[in-house]
Symmetry: D2
Subunit: 373 residues, 4 copies
């Protein structure tokens, strides 16, 4: 009999609950017990907050995970704050210093007779998991990033749901864009990698897609819109990843000057405002934001989450530690956490989807490709 | 045999295409012909723009309306600009004066041997339809307002779709709000009437709903959030109609001063920023904006649109003019356009849904109700 | 302080959980307590079955109704069996006799110190509720019928969700029907009233709709399909209510004889098989069946359910009994249960939707209308 | 300048229109022209049928593919009949003989000055494409099978949409199953391979999944249901692939005899009827059938379809022939048609998803695994 603790950290993603349920069910089949830690590691580090809730770490019954596979969020709660490796502690003079509290976590887990930890989260969480595993405790990581930008797994859960939702939203904007002959700018998630923008933009038949990986020339985008006008298409759909960046740090716009772009908001707002000035066309922006993180996971994401959860339990059963489950289609395997940390998968310029998009006439705002056409 | 012209004006709404298809099919059954006018009345008033598109007014074949019942937008295009009663014409000195060009429309319709006009649009469009009907031309109006704020019909199409979508979005935010213990503010449409906020807010189990009809006290909203904290609910969902307004024109916040609220953006941004200051809790805002106008109409909206279209043709066949179709459940009837114009239906404070919401513990930000509790 | 019992009876419908949650929340605001009875009245009548589940009647905490507004089904369970007015009891000789056990229910409720009962269900359940109210117990009914065939309320919850789903399914079949030039027959719910078939059929742009209220001539339907072929439409969508019936009890088919229609299955199967014989076209049938009862309720159905639940609590608070909540738009009112029982609302032949459908060229299989065309 | 012909064959699948649009757009970017063949090759083989439709093979304009990416079906039509390699021709005596008409197709394509053919379809269509490529004509195949059972590509379009829909349907049935304490049997597609049943069954948290690859013992399934009853779960969800088969050709049921199972219908009906007899529990069956083939493709399927279409044009441009596009993640490559034909990918018993499912307690009806538990 083993007792496993589970926690979820970082931004929430559709599929977290499916992973939790999978771990609890698979453990139950082995006769094991599961405990859940609240809000990252805060259930352990700030136990007083959870006094009225039965404690910051408590058993997870089969009943507690019933019917949660298709629910967004995480029944354990999550947080972006309170990294136990650099936990901010207020000093007497009011200032904060960061303290490594990882040993407290290990101690608490041992106090609760926990044998192993399954930690579900993004790159930051995997880092913490790796640190805990160094302290002679059995730890398995389950990777989560809605942006799909983790290098050592074919896919992460949450991404498929985000792409599906973003695509549906682009669909919705098409009819309005066309009916009103407007430019519609849609900002989607993707600070460092443009996977959501690329997948949803192509699937949603956007006209222009702006990614963090391809700095854009706003004048060239405006030209593309004028070209569309000439060919009888009086509207355009522009999908912008939140991390998209202009080609020139401080760009100048030929013909019109948009001045110091003070307070333009996010990437989408910026692109919209500039295009309205440059093209003279009515332009509207929609920022999908947190809508992309919630909702019922797609069948794909549920399946991947369930597989990851079961694989994590399997790894515990095999005595593995300091490892992360990872999809190497068609298998789920385990790789060392040390190998998984800090490696980002970005969109390469010669990826087949980029190639496809260009062949379909979708424009990425890069000067070169535009001149080539 | 008759020849009917159709146009769509104002903001687009799910169901416009279903109305158009219904008019074309019902006309076809009677052996009539339909013509479509592009972009409001611009197809007639600015014909040069449509030269390459076969003209600004042209026949609508059965084929042209095939498979459009469930598509958002309008195949005729629409616009918020170019009111023919006050059409802006640029003078030699660069200034604009507004000219009544309604007679040109009548002339053009007669030139094309059109017998009657069915005009689909909001209050502005019904006003124009009424003016045209005064000029001895057969005109029937079909009301459209996604905000559901028209007084002389039980319902207008587009509203149900907007409410359904907004509710789904609120669902998506719930899981994130709870997982991260955040305040989530969702801004929905409704400049003068809060129907979308009220319906979606109650159906989506919001905690606070702010409507144009009930000025809100932001301090009281913050208190409500603190109350929820105390009872163990560490998150809150706030639905804000875009027309929601604070109780005091220039409010002061007891304890904390949020200063001159410079550049706070829309109603949702404002509420979010103030709540973050007042409560100290992480707060995020999502503005649904144009997403609410697009997309596939719900079955309800399709049905209502099809009924309105058929009823408009029926009215033409009966020789009616200067009338508007209108839902008086379970019937669709015709009322004089003059009676329909300019009458807004807002949420009354003793509406059964308001009552229900209060009984469920939903708070509207009104000082009084809060003190009562 | 009051203690209210809630039960759900009959076939499940989307919205039941929303009603339950609404009752619990509204009661909580009044400082009352709610108890839930399992599986109709079986939790009381067969208590031994629920021993391991904490009893067949037990308190409903606020926590127990958290997050259930948008879930299908009913957390209390439901059943079509075990009518307490005619409860089947097995005799020693193996035969069954029906016994009125309503007094046992009253006794049990009183034993549990319950002050009032809110009973949610169809016509059968309202009948039982009425009987219980005769025994000097406070009872309020909440009507539920997915078929929308109850006469004394503008609408019942579940119907909107069923129509929306059925319409989406018809959409899905359109593309296949057209791609393969087939006849697609879709059987939807509606044993005695054709509301779902009518609403979904019109919204989904079916070509033929067969209702219980309009006996159909299968030969005339075949003729309609041939007409469509001639006009270039090589596919047809036929929506059939499960209660649709042929015009002639024992029909003969001119030209072809389909013989004794042995073992044709349900209404949809029958229509499909006959049309395939009569037209020679590939025909496929899909029976939506139980898919129509499940799933997340639409925003409309959630709102109606929440309103009904709150209104039931309001009625209890006002001391009403032997009444049923009912939608008289825009209000929810109470009517005597005695007036509500046994009155079915069917589709009248001159309903505006029927009229609309005919004007759009949709055919109902009635000989007369076909000849007229 | 090249002129390319496109055709679609076999059962329809979500994504066909996206492939067509992708081919037309990518060709347009190269200055090429596209023509479409109607209903498989029937547009060429039975030209008289298409006289009134502008011919059985005709140009595809940019306009003709506008807005079709997200539509189900195929604008070209498709068919399962009329294999040109074995085309059934009626003889004078009424009998049919099969004739190879492939040369007629080549001749017709050449007559229309077509340079190359892109043929989209299943295994049968790829066979035909290969035969045509032997006749000195440039041919590229695009694989389509909703069952995902093609061995030489990581994925085929349509599968993801079918799985997503089937999962949603299983979700819908859960609430009813639980509310009524019933067994719900859902039959999904998959005659030879159980991919849809496996993916949707696991994602939809079925209790039992029956696949063509794992013959099932109906008694063991009944035992599993009894086990669930004992542990307090009074309902079960059984997902059955249409090709699922019992372990013993002519099985006997211990204890109860269900006799010669005359006329039990499909795999789902058979399982439902037998389980109802064996367990005595109310059992309902839903056959998803053609609903799985239609509808809007998921973002995934749209993306894959667009990639396949663009890759096919790329292959033509490179002078390739007798090849099929195929997904080898993350790339789309070309493999010889000869290598692709006739190789089916079935579910292997040690596939990670099977393993995951067993670890979660899902049962496949195989005697062995059951005894092991």
């Amino acid at each position: 009999m083993k007792r496993i603790a589970i926690n979820t950290g970082g931004g929430d993603a559709p599929g977290l609950n499916a992973v939790i349920r999978s771990i609890v069910l698979a453990s139950h089949q082995l006769g094991w017990e599961c405990w859940g830690i609240r809000n990252g590691f805060n259930g352990i580090l700030e136990p007083e907050k959870y006094k009225n809730q039965g404690g910051g770490i408590k058993p997870l019954s089969l009943h507690s995970v019933k019917g949660i596979t298709h629910l967004g969020g995480t029944i354990l709660g999550t947080t972006n704050k309170g990294n136990p490796l650099k936990f901010p502690i207020q000093q007497k003079d009011g200032s904060f210093i960061d303290i490594d509290r990882s040993q407290e976590i290990i101690n608490s887990l041992k106090d609760h007779a926990i044998d192993a930890l399954i930690s579900i989260g993004g790159d930051g969480s995997m880092n913490i998991a790796h640190a805990l595993a160094q302290k002679d405790f059995q730890v398995i990581g389950v990777p989560k990033t809605i942006d799909n930008d983790l290098d050592n797994t074919d896919a992460t859960f949450g991404f498929d749901t985000a792409v599906e939702f973003a695509t549906t939203c682009i669909d919705r904007l098409h009819s309005t864009a066309e009916a009103h002959e407007r430019i519609m700018v849609v900002e989607v998630m993707g600070r460092y990698a443009g996977w959501i923008a690329l997948h949803a933009g192509v699937a949603g038949t956007a006209d222009v897609i702006l990614l963090p990986e391809i700095p854009y020339d706003i004048n060239a985008v405006a030209k593309k819109i004028f070209e569309r006008e000439k060919s009888g298409s009086h509207f355009s759909i522009i999908v912008v990843a939140e991390g998209a960046k202009p080609l020139h740090g401080n760009f100048s716009i030929i013909g019109k000057n948009i001045g110091q772009s003070e307070r333009l908001g996010g990437a989408g707002d910026k692109v919209a405002k500039e295009l309205e000035i440059l093209t003279g066309k009515e332009t509207r922006v929609v920022v999908l934001g947190h809508l992309q993180r919630g909702g019922m996971p797609t069948a794909n994401d549920r399946l991947l989450s369930l597989r990851f959860g079961a694989a994590a339990v399997r790894a515990i059963a095999k005595g593995m530690t300091d490892m992360m489950v990872s999809l190497h289609s068609p298998n789920v395997e385990c790789i060392p956490l040390a190998d998984a940390i800090g490696k980002r998968k970005t969109v390469s310029l010669n990826h087949d989807i980029i190639l496809t998009a260009r062949e379909l006439g979708i424009y990425f705002g890069d000067e070169l490709s535009f001149i080539q056409e």
